[in-house]
């Protein structure tokens, strides 16, 4: 790998030129994948009591990082940019304020940051990191749903084939799995709170699925 990590100044410059701010100006309104569902309206009109709570954490920045986990220089660079090191253990995640990093595979991590900071962080990565790696802004391709409440585990049991018991699925664990025939990255953020990273194109389907799966417990939409 070492020869791949030696780059000429021209090559380094080329990696920086590829970065562009994907956020449009203020004149264009950003719309999340569930914009059409009008969750804000439902949050006002809908029930306030129920076993499952749903909130879309919309328009966040999703950065997909791929690199060699044995490269100490790059690990240090990640820590300089985000203030926290990559989770190297399988199926784990770390958090630092508004930043969270999910382990996706042995050489791949999903970094979620506030939407407005995405471009800054991406640029910082290009300045700090050297060598052979890939950082892709996939913010437009996915969205995050936060599901919580007393019956959230029962609702998820209908949707994913993984063991959700506390002993098998502790807080902080991350699992990429099938969610109701679609895919989702499920992360436990609290005893009764989970975050799902889902595909944009499946957002409507999963929104309908969650409504159906939560019907017996009562679904509370939060905005």
């Amino acid at each position: 790998m070492s020869d791949l990590n030696v780059m000429t100044p021209e090559e380094v410059a080329a990696t920086k030129a590829a970065v562009m701010n994907q956020l449009p100006g203020a004149e264009i309104q950003g719309q999340s994948p569930l914009h059409h569902a009008e969750l804000e309206v439902l949050a006002q009109k809908g029930p306030k009591q129920g076993g499952v709570h749903l909130k879309e954490l919309k328009l966040l920045g999703h950065l997909m990082l791929r690199m060699n986990p044995e490269n100490a220089d790059q690990l240090a660079a990640v820590e300089r940019v985000l203030g926290v090191g990559l989770p190297l253990q399988p199926l784990t995640s770390v958090e630092n304020g508004n930043y969270s990093i999910r382990w996706m595979s042995p050489d791949e991590w999903l970094i979620i940051v506030p939407g407005a900071e995405t471009f800054d962080i991406e640029s910082k990565f290009r300045d700090e990191m050297g060598g052979h790696y890939s950082l892709v802004n996939s913010s437009g391709g996915s969205t995050v749903l936060k599901v919580s409440g007393d019956n959230v585990v029962e609702m998820l049991k209908k949707s994913v084939p993984v063991d959700l018991h506390d002993s098998e699925f502790p807080v902080g664990k991350v699992v990429s799995t099938v969610f109701a025939k679609s895919g989702a990255v499920v992360r436990r953020t609290g005893e009764k709170e989970f975050e799902l990273v889902i595909r944009r194109s499946f957002a409507d389907y999963i929104w309908l699925w969650i409504q159906d799966a939560s019907r017996e417990f009562g679904l509370v939409v939060e905005a």
């Binding site: 199926l91 595979s105 042995p106 799995t177």
Partner: protein, 94 residues
């Protein structure tokens, strides 16, 4: 339904998350131009179909999306061993 251990995630998952990718340990001929039609055709199309132990390639498609090898008994469906790409199987047919 098979319960498959993913060596990259380090835990058992449902078969639903995986895809079988055919026979393992297929070496592509180093110089395809020098192959006879028979050799090349056998590499491309001919696969083992044993009754008993079989080495297969699987991918954890809904999880970490990594490939790995599985030694499985095609008669009982029992998975004898799971090992990463590049490693040698310890359970082999006699």
């Amino acid at each position: 339904m098979l319960h498959i251990y993913c060596p990259h995630c380090g835990e058992y998952r449902e078969e639903e998350e995986f895809h079988a990718a055919g026979q393992a340990h297929l070496a592509r001929p180093l110089d395809p131009e020098a192959c006879s039609d028979k050799e090349w055709g056998e590499f491309l199309f001919f696969r083992k179909n044993p009754r008993g132990l079989h080495h297969e390639l699987w991918v954890h498609s809904a999880g970490c999306r990594k490939f790995f090898n599985v030694t499985r008994d095609t008669q009982t469906y029992e998975i004898k061993e799971v090992y990463k790409i590049g490693e040698k199987p310890s359970v082999v047919a006699e």
